[in-house]
């Protein structure tokens, strides 16, 4: 146990600081991906509810494909496909060799695209939960569409969406571990590096697991609080 404390501590031989930094990286990349997914999810949900036929088909295809394909494959596509495009672009302007995309950007976009597919489902369900009468009432008092969206739809849909968004956030948090395969130094990558150089993989991967548990527990509590706050004006049986 004392060995473990020294290994993961903040002393000269400890990996504590590096693991802490990696934890911040996991939070940063998951939060970026989640935010990207929210924007994308809202757009796709809108396309599926209000869009014309081609838009609806495109949105449905996006959700079906992203939910059916391994996340790892999407990360590979964004990273290697992005690098391929970037290299071609660099060769056009005369550079030589391989140009890699930033692992953070590729990872965040990949996880964000996947998260967007799930979030569009959450938003669609939340929109369906809004009472039709509210929308009719808003229209009858002559609200413009943007105003109706801002004042009537967003505040209520968001409230219904919180539990679902909480689930999708947990997914994004766990999917962020996959970005380690393209070399972003988040929790799992740092644990791999530590495991390799100390030959104590068990300690490092157990620590990584514990860090993820802490992150998911804390954010789970946060979402619970947000839900309680959002629902405080709603009468429940």
């Amino acid at each position: 146990m004392a060995d473990y404390v020294e290994l993961m501590g903040f002393g000269p031989k400890g990996w504590g600081l590096l693991m802490a930094q990696a934890t911040l990286m996991t939070i940063a990349v998951s939060a970026t991906a989640f935010a990207l997914g929210s924007a994308l999810g809202a757009l796709v949900a809108w396309a599926r509810i209000e869009g014309n036929r081609p838009l609806r088909i495109a949105a449905d295809a996006y959700v079906t494909v992203l939910r059916g394909i391994p996340d790892l494959l999407v990360i590979y596509l964004l990273y290697f496909g992005g690098s391929q495009a970037l290299t071609a672009l660099a060769h056009l302007v005369g550079a030589k060799g391989f140009v890699g995309v930033n692992a953070f950007a590729a990872g965040a976009i990949a996880v964000g695209i996947i998260s967007g597919a799930y979030q569009s489902e959450v938003f669609r369900g939340a929109f369906a939960a809004i009472a039709r009468g509210e929308l009719e009432a808003a229209r009858s008092v002559g609200m413009s569409r943007p105003l109706l969206f801002r004042r009537i739809i967003v505040p209520q849909a968001l409230r219904f969406a919180i539990p679902g968004l909480g689930n999708v956030w947990q997914l994004a948090l766990k999917e962020s571990a996959l970005i380690s395969v393209v070399g972003l130094t988040e929790i799992l990558r740092q644990a791999q590096v530590g495991a390799g150089s100390t030959r104590q993989p068990f300690e490092f991967f157990i620590t990584a697991a514990a860090l993820y548990l802490v992150l998911s527990t804390i954010s789970g509590l946060g979402f619970q609080r947000a839900e309680a706050l959002g629902m405080r004006g709603v009468r429940r049986s």
């Binding site: 059916g68 494959l73 596509l77 991967f205 993820y212 998911s216 527990t217």
Partner: protein, 238 residues
């Protein structure tokens, strides 16, 4: 579009499908058994069993599958006790490690689905079964399973599709299933987009087949689609 390359890629990728199917089939089958056990522990009313199952589900749902795979594949081999035990011939192999991690992972998610299914059976039904003098085992088999299964099936179908996707992570510990082969081809040819399209199509077809099979099963299990029981032997009135 270079069709020769696409054709060659698809053929290469298809050689990974048997491994993919094996991993997902065995982990789902073993995971389902374990999940039923976990769900029964949660519902047993025994606080120790309940707490144990609850913590298990919390840990396995709260950590990434990739961490669980690495912990089992790289982490366990660190202990001489394990390296000298009868388990080592299995835990040394990436195949068994991936299977173990996938099984433990899906059991945690499925146990919640199964618990929901069991809880959905109205208590009156169980009460009635007890009143008829059915034993606990018989109640479980005849009353709870048939009714709970219909409720749990859609969510369980999702879990099966998710597991089929998750087998891709086995490629990180050297198993050459579809994603493993895809990443190898990408790193050799740098044609990520083409390979992605081929591999993605394979996964989508598999998922489509699974979801159709689940929908069919759901239809068969729903009482309204079953042939009426042969009690209708009442003679028709003229």
């Amino acid at each position: 579009m270079d069709f020769d390359f696409l054709k060659e890629t698809v053929l290469l990728l298809l050689s990974g499908v048997p491994l993919l199917l094996q991993l997902s089939f065995f982990s789902i089958a073993a995971g389902a058994l374990f999940a039923v056990l976990l769900a029964l522990m949660r519902l047993s009313g025994n606080p120790v069993l309940d707490y144990a199952a609850r913590s298990y589900v919390f840990v396995f749902r709260g950590t990434p599958l990739l961490v669980q795979i690495f912990l089992i594949y790289y982490g366990l081999g660190q202990f001489p006790e394990i390296r000298q035990s009868f388990l080592w011939p299995f835990l040394r192999e990436p195949y068994w490690c991936a299977l173990l991690a996938l099984t433990l992972n899906t059991a945690a998610y499925s146990s919640e689905i199964i618990r929901g299914g069991i809880l959905s059976v109205p208590f009156g039904q169980i009460e009635a079964a007890r009143a008829c003098g059915m034993s606990r085992g018989l109640i479980f088999r005849r009353i709870i399973v048939p009714q709970g299964l219909i409720v749990a099936l859609p969510a369980y179908g999702n879990e099966i599709i998710l597991m089929t996707r998750s087998t891709a992570l086995a490629s990180t510990i050297t198993l050459m299933e579809v994603t493993g082969i895809a990443s190898k081809i990408i790193s050799e040819t740098f044609r990520a987009v083409e390979v992605f399209i081929c591999a993605g199509a394979i996964y989508l077809i598999l998922n489509f087949a699974i979801s159709r099979a689940i929908a069919l099963l759901e239809r068969r299990l729903s009482p309204q689609f079953q042939a009426p029981a042969p009690v209708a032997a009442v003679p028709e009135r003229a």
